[in-house]
Symmetry: none
Subunit: 540 residues, 2 copies
């Protein structure tokens, strides 16, 4: 029988404290539903009373039946010299209608006297009174001991006295917070182990990543006896973030043998991580442990053939278990077998003969020599493979484009693009402004194509990178443009190379749209649109 | 007496295995100089023999005297059934002219028989023979035991036999590699501790971050007796990256009391991290532990006043110790002395009063908020300081420019620029083609200015980088352009920011020329050129 570790997610509360993170009530509902589906035990939705948005979330989520998770409200103990029953903050927790409440309180003597400006005894009273009040109202109650590790180092007996007061008042959980994120794993292990021995109440851990060791701190606490981990998806949160549950869960479950979620739920980990990133409008680092796009990417000839023969020689876990995929990086596509493995991974079946395969490999090498880089642009690679095998549809071709930029001394620069495309032998001529030349070009292309292929409205550009390939030429040098596009949480990358940054951008833009049309299974416009509709578009 | 831990940086070799990371020889030289300055003990420059770029690096770096670091070449043991002295790979190490070599070899029995396809005995011979050969050639020799932790778990006695063979052959260091990045801190601690007891040779640790615990693994290994940590700046590297030295060093030095670099060098940590990110054209996450822009950012009223009263109540270390800054939402008054120090460093003497200094600081903060970054563009900073103190000459001003780009289906794109400048109240109107819009703009500007300021012929653009600042907006997002210019071996960098890449490039181009004119001590054209000469130029 595996030992259960409970997952407490605070993406919707502590996570939104991260710089640049902002979630609407609708966003929070969407994320909560996915967290529930993944098997999270407690979903902390916000701090009722601190702002209207959080209260609106609790009102909305009450109406939605969840499969498993307990929606939890966050708050603090009552104020000094105020009875818990009279405290606005605790009243707001009750009013939010949740089943569980998590309240933080002081356990570091310095904070009691210097920040709270009250006595050590009064702080103990506030903790006990607040916990007892919430329990009496029928809530599952978690007491979060703020700055516990610093407090324990400064005055262990006082820190423990605070926890015991919460226990005696009936707390269901006591959670040890490393609020500064300054503790190291060996300290967390020792202090949790010492604390577990003093209490009957199950303990949780709430680490922050200021020292870059939050995941290790969570694991150390569990190994020392903690039964709950509080963190966020993708480690978002104030300063350096909360502990990343996306890394904690597979370590606990696949490596240390604890039980967090079902095997099937764990296979949704990568999707969950990418979904939350998408909703929060943040770029997920390719190198994120476990779920990153590069996490199981392999380079190097001998290495690749060994991985394909026996993945465990080079991989610490099987990517399938967490819903990620093994990737073979194309720059090493020396052999036919690698190319075939790549096509299987990209889920394209071209049944190529030996001659054709060799042709394609030669073409990849030529393009890489010119400066294309397909390891970061697998959508462009897919298009090249489709093209080489004659299976690429002709959704549109370029007749010409012109871009005009003008700047007068004190005014901002303006950018205009004119694009002439051919769609099913008809000429479509559009013009658009933009915030810069590439944006203008993108706008003009969309204007030309959206009526033929309305699904284009569902894709957007997510990232744009420019790299100068040969530095000695500076502005006359070759540049590589990488464009990342997204639609419904899925991402793909395309590449263009030219001495002209605009021409390279055009290539990557056109590839990005073509790849999306291929993935969506779009037919060429001639087969779709009626003659009348097309006439309308031509004069658009 | 604090115990010394040696730092081994492999940013230039393992780091460049990271997806999307590509460094030119010039980039590698720049980074190596900064690593040396920071106090890194070993700088791994590449794998000579594996590619011409790495060999070119070793040839260049040989000519440059370093203060402290040993430049190290990476390679592998000799091949099966080949004597070390006959092995091309080891010959290439010697030919690279380095003082130190790091060679990897197998220590996991499964890899010996399945990947290398040789016998366990032959593998031991290869390790011993290769180490002995390098020692005999006078090199400091590090033996890197690949997959050591997996190997130890599978067959501890064989894994140790391999290490002992390296020790007996005279290895100066034995480095335990967690090649898959799959080990957890408690395993690393136990295995390193067991291994230390078996050997006389000092041990190093080489962790990867696939489990999100690489920093903790490095700390655990040092606590168990390892004396060297191998990692990269910002944790770049294959898959999920190598261990991030930027997080390891302050943990070791400020929290665990080990000695890595001097206190003054440690204050350069944030700068080093940002510098490498800039050169590698990667976006540093704001939440990166220790050095991130948000790492010491404080929100919230009570919190902020508490931080200002007593930072240690809310911060795990003092940000000044690593060259980062506390950020609060109130305007920071600090920085006057910093600005004066900076001016001294830039060798500009402006004798500013207190009022003026405060004005300049406000202006820098505003511009940084807009996305300018002066750490990588000190020439632009210098111009701003000169301008703020009224000491910037008016060599030229922009009236307007226009850029036209045209592409027809099968032809290459063409770029033309028209520039109207005002030089000493005369209007100069020129046009030029270029290899792309920025090159055309550069050509047209030079055409306009060269007759007034002939020294411009001696400067050229050396590097051009574009960074998207707000990734969410993609092609409509703000971009930062960094231009590096050079003249007679001296280099300077300038910056421009706009939503339009061309406008940002213009700013950086204009700054680049202005800075050069200032450095050359050029007077404004009106004071130089005769009336006749100017007439000739206007009609140019």
């Amino acid at each position: 029988m595996k030992s259960k570790v409970y997952l407490y997610d605070t993406t919707l509360r502590d996570g939104t404290q991260g710089e640049g993170i902002s979630l609407s009530v609708e966003d929070k509902i969407k994320i909560a539903l996915r967290l529930d589906q993944f098997g999270i035990d407690f979903i902390e939705g916000g701090w009722p009373g601190s702002n209207p948005k959080d209260m609106a979330f609790f009102e909305r989520i009450r109406e939605i039946p969840l499969q498993h998770a307990k929606v939890t409200a966050f708050g603090s103990t009552c104020r000094p010299n105020v009875a818990a029953a009279e405290d606005d903050n605790l009243q707001a927790l009750i009013a939010s209608g949740v089943q569980a409440a998590a309240i933080f309180g002081k356990s570091w003597d310095l904070h009691v006297t210097d920040a709270l400006k009250t006595t050590l005894e009064e702080n103990v009273r506030m903790v006990a009174d607040s916990v007892a009040f919430l329990k009496q109202k029928g809530l599952t109650t978690l007491f979060l001991a703020e700055h516990f590790f610093d407090g324990y180092k400064a005055n262990a007996s006082y820190a423990l006295e605070v926890l015991k007061a919460a226990e005696e008042a009936g707390a269901d959980w006591i959670v040890l917070c490393d609020t500064n994120g300054g503790s190291l794993p060996h300290e967390v292990y020792e202090i949790v182990r010492a604390t577990v021995g003093q209490l009957r109440t199950p303990l949780g851990i709430h680490p922050h990543n200021d020292s870059g060791v939050a995941v290790a701190n969570a694991l150390a606490a569990v190994q020392a006896g903690a039964k709950q981990v509080q963190g966020t998806i993708n480690g978002i949160g104030e300063r350096c973030g909360n502990v990343n549950l996306v890394s904690v869960v597979p370590n606990l479950q696949l490596k240390l043998g604890y039980d967090c979620v079902s095997g099937e739920q764990l296979q949704g980990l990568t999707q969950l991580s990418r979904y939350v990133a998408e909703i929060a409008n943040m770029t997920l680092p390719n190198n994120q442990p476990f779920v990153g796009h590069s996490a199981f990417a392999h380079k190097g000839g001998i290495h690749v053939s060994a991985v394909l023969r026996d993945p465990k020689t080079y991989e610490h876990i099987e990517p399938e278990n967490i819903g990620n995929k093994r990737r073979v990086l194309v720059s090493e596509l020396a052999g036919q077998s690698n190319l075939l493995a790549k096509m299987e991974e990209l889920e394209i079946d071209l049944s190529l003969d030996r001659e054709k395969t060799r042709e394609i490999i030669t073409r990849i090498k030529e393009r890489e020599f010119q400066g294309y880089q397909y390891e970061g642009a697998e959508a462009s690679l897919t298009l090249m493979l489709l093209e080489a095998s004659g299976k690429l549809k002709n959704w549109f071709t370029l007749d010409s484009f012109k871009i005009l930029m003008e700047k007068a001394a004190i005014q901002s620069i303006t950018s205009e693009a004119m694009v002439k495309l051919r769609v099913n032998s008809e000429s479509v001529h559009t013009a658009a402004d933009g915030n810069g030349p590439v944006n203008a070009l993108d706008n003009a292309m969309r204007k030309a194509l959206e009526s033929y292929y309305p699904c284009i409205a569902n894709m957007h550009l997510a990232d744009y990178k420019v790299r100068v390939l040969d530095e000695n030429g500076a502005t006359a040098a070759k540049v590589r443009v990488l464009i990342e596009s997204a639609s419904n949480g899925e991402k793909w990358s395309t590449v263009g190379v030219s001495t002209n940054v605009i021409e390279a951008s055009w290539e990557a833009l056109a590839d990005s749209i073509r790849y999306f049309l291929w993935k969506e299974g779009c037919e060429e416009a001639g087969h779709l649109a009626s003659a009348e509709a097309r006439v309308g578009i031509v004069n658009h």
